[in-house]
């Protein structure tokens, strides 16, 4: 058997290759037929080399870490997750050791021995460790989440951004019934945060975006946001004050990459005792952060990394519930041969395209 796949050989170099799928997989491993793989900002960072400046990237490798597919063979790990050969599953991108202090303290997304799909080199046989491939090898310690068969795969691959949102809004941010939540940023993560905040029972959900994000802000309202702010036309802090009658918000989530202003706005928009979740990759230190305001308002700052197993379960549950029009979140479905274009599109490099969430379907060559 063979697998058509994408191989990222270096920064900004993706190739379509055909790799052999060995009859005999490594002991205990399973095999997945990939139905769809979502792409997110970290795929773009891997492509451009920005990720490589944060930690070593073992090129060449098969990318794609938001994977949904069907188990062709279950391996040793699937049984413990309640999955069997033939089942459709979401694949958790991080393979944790389960034995380090972080794993045992409930910081499973900070596992010190973590292996990550799409970050394992081709040199580790059989090399099929990413989702931009017709077939993917499943490590026995992988956590798999069974999914219903009758939900579009483009909705299913949203488990990854939705899981981020559950972690950031609920587990880390602590939002609950009656909370007021400010989400800074209206990309796929920001919109997913609206879903999680709704599910948590938040009373007020305010989402910010740029002027060109008008359609995304409209989508935020459809998903359950109560208010939106165009940061180019309005003063974020003044608008939050007006919307909340001066009470401000008790949770703020900065999911904006690069820009520093959302972090500063978040600190100003929080009420005393509030929690700020820092989830946007800035790639640099941010000047002008008013630390005295953090102190004076008794704020809590929380960082986030990756996704927890709990959050993936919640995400799969909300997808299976069909309670939200999640179909409105995926803007593009693209075949394997156009994967590079898809990644560049998500990074804003293709003029005229304004993607929210993109799914690559490795079984399609072009679409």
């Amino acid at each position: 058997m063979e697998s058509r796949c994408i191989v990222t050989v270096a920064e900004r170099r993706m190739e379509v290759r055909t790799l052999p799928v060995p009859d005999e997989l490594p002991a205990g491993h399973g095999l997945l037929e990939v139905e769809g793989v979502g792409i997110c900002g970290s795929d773009y960072d891997l492509y451009t080399g920005a990720l490589g400046r944060m930690r070593p990237v073992p090129y060449p490798l098969v990318p794609g870490h938001e994977v949904v597919g069907r188990l062709l063979s279950d391996g040793d790990g699937a049984l413990l997750c309640g999955a069997r050969t033939g089942d459709r599953v979401a694949v958790e991108p991080v393979i944790r050791c389960g034995v380090c202090p972080e794993c045992n303290a409930g910081l499973d997304n900070n596992c010190r021995n973590a292996m990550v799909y799409a970050m394992r080199p081709l040199a580790d046989a059989p090399g099929l460790w990413g989702g931009m491939s017709q077939y993917m090898c499943i490590h026995p310690r992988t956590v798999l989440h069974p999914l219903p068969d009758d939900i579009p795969v483009e909705d299913c691959v949203l488990f990854n951004p939705l899981a981020n949102a559950y972690d950031w809004v609920c587990r880390v941010g602590g939002a609950g019934v009656g909370s007021s939540v400010l989400v800074l940023g209206s990309g796929q993560r920001g919109l997913s945060c609206v879903v999680a905040a709704r599910e948590a029972g938040a009373e007020r959900i305010i989402v910010t975006g740029l002027h060109r994000d008008a359609a995304k802000l409209q989508l935020a309202m459809e998903l359950g946001a109560t208010d939106t702010i165009d940061v180019e036309a309005e003063d974020v802090v003044a608008r939050v004050r007006a919307i909340t009658g001066g009470e401000m918000v008790d949770r703020a989530l900065d999911v904006v990459p690069e820009a520093g202003q959302p972090l500063i706005d978040a600190i100003e928009a929080l009420r005393p005792g509030g929690t700020l979740v820092v989830a946007g990759v800035k790639g640099r230190p941010i000047d002008g952060v008013p630390t005295d305001r953090i102190m004076a308002k008794s704020l809590t700052l929380r960082g986030v990394r990756g996704i927890s197993s709990w959050a993936v379960r919640e995400a799969v549950r909300v997808i299976a519930s069909r309670r939200f029009p999640l179909g409105r979140l995926h803007s593009h479905v693209i075949g394997l041969d156009d994967a590079e274009r898809a990644v560049r599109m998500l990074g804003g490099e293709i003029p005229g395209e304004t993607p929210v969430h993109i799914t690559i379907r490795p079984q399609l060559s072009r679409r």
Binding site: A27, G28, D76, G77, L79, L80, C81, R96, C97, G98, V99, C100, P101, C103, N104, A105, G106, L107, D108, N113, R141, V143, S308, S309, W310, R313
Partner: protein
């Protein structure tokens, strides 16, 4: 490989026989056992109060030296000193991944005694033999999954380290985590065997101002006072007037039930000892038929008392076993004083007779 093992062919007495232990594969570790504590949970197994498959090798509190490892085992090598965790940490189930590995879903196989998907760890006369808690520390050789094995420093005596694997960790953590004893609290520990004596130490270490030990055996009360209890009485009934006097009627923030078998009467009698918002922690086991409890519901409602159960004291074995051994090394956790008697494997039934007769804080089997 042949090994001497104490097994139960059915509930009753242990018989010490030679079993054939197979070689480790994949994630398995072969351990040469050095010492095993005699814990009350094996008494439940011995007397048929635990659902289990027989024949089964007893023992779930042990330490030893790694003899061989399977091909996928990481971070363990022959010669390493290890303590076994009575509950494995699979690292994948909802409880493991949320930081509550004491509730790992694999605990469902404790009585089955065979890791799901694996062969029996041992055989006798062609019949597969299970191992209690997938450990079976009453065997000279143990074949266990890496998920149950925790490496420790070589300088800790293994007969002391063995106790930390279950009883000491359960008791200490029942006070520190499950009861969440805080500085200045009043605490009651009911039943001071190996688990209770560790709860006394944990409560004292957490800063409790008052630690009342309750045990009918005079020698255990004396030992509790040496290990950190401020008061010791024979019965639960004696605690109420004592606490009323000591706390000005506010009573105890934590009441920890560490007796070998918890009954409804014991729980009911403990309720008046708890303060408003106080926590009554059920650490000890009971029998499947123990379902009758009579409680003053109005009092629970009006005082916001909490009755909580705990497995292993809410411990995280991979963090807490090394922590407890560091505390032992620095003299803050007393283990030497907890060992009443050591036995050979052949004396296992005598050891349990002593446990039932109240003669032991902890008995330890030292393998020859």
């Amino acid at each position: 490989m042949k090994a001497h093992a104490a097994l139960l062919r059915q509930p009753g007495e242990f018989s010490v026989e030679d079993v054939e232990v197979r070689a480790p594969t994949a994630n398995e570790v072969l351990i040469r056992a050095v010492a095993s504590g005699l814990c009350g949970s094996d008494l439940h197994l011995k007397e048929g109060r635990t659902r289990a498959t027989y024949p089964i090798i007893g023992g779930h509190e042990g330490a030893g030296v790694v003899e061989a490892v399977g091909s996928d085992v990481q971070g363990l090598a022959p010669g390493d000193h290890v303590v076994c965790s009575p509950i494995p940490q699979c690292g994948r189930c909802p409880h493991c991944t949320r930081g509550n590995p004491n509730l790992c879903d694999m605990v469902a196989y404790a009585g089955v005694g065979v890791w799901p998907g694996a062969e029996h760890p041992a055989h006798i006369g062609g019949v597969g033999v299970a191992a209690y808690c997938m450990l079976g520390t009453f065997s000279e050789l143990m074949l266990v999954n890496q998920a149950s094995v925790i490496r420790i420093d070589d300088d800790i005596p293994l007969d002391r380290a063995a106790l930390v694997g279950c009883g000491v960790m359960t008791g200490w953590c029942s006070a520190v985590y499950a009861a969440d004893v805080q500085i200045g609290d009043a605490t009651v520990v009911v039943g001071t065997g190996g688990v209770g004596m560790s709860a006394v130490q944990g409560a004292a270490h957490a800063g409790a101002e008052i630690v009342v030990a309750v045990d009918p055996v005079e020698s255990k009360r004396a030992a509790a006072l040496r290990l950190g209890a401020t008061h010791a009485v024979a019965t639960v009934e004696e605690v109420e007037p004592l606490l009323r006097d000591l706390t000005g009627g506010r009573m105890a923030q934590a009441v920890i039930l560490t007796a070998g078998r918890i009954s409804g009467e014991m729980l009911a009698a403990s309720m008046p000892l708890a303060a408003k918002m106080g926590r009554i922690v059920i650490t000890g086991g009971s029998a499947p038929g123990d379902v009758d409890v009579k409680l003053n519901l109005g009092n629970i409602q009006a005082t916001q008392k909490q009755i909580v159960g705990t497995l292993l004291g809410n411990a995280r074995p991979r963090l807490d076993i090394p922590l407890l051994l560091r505390l032992y090394r620095s003299g803050r956790l007393k283990l030497d004083e907890m060992i009443s008697t050591t036995y050979s494997l052949d004396q296992v039934n005598a050891g349990y007779a002593d446990l039932e007769a109240g003669r032991n804080i902890r008995g330890v089997i030292v393998h020859s």
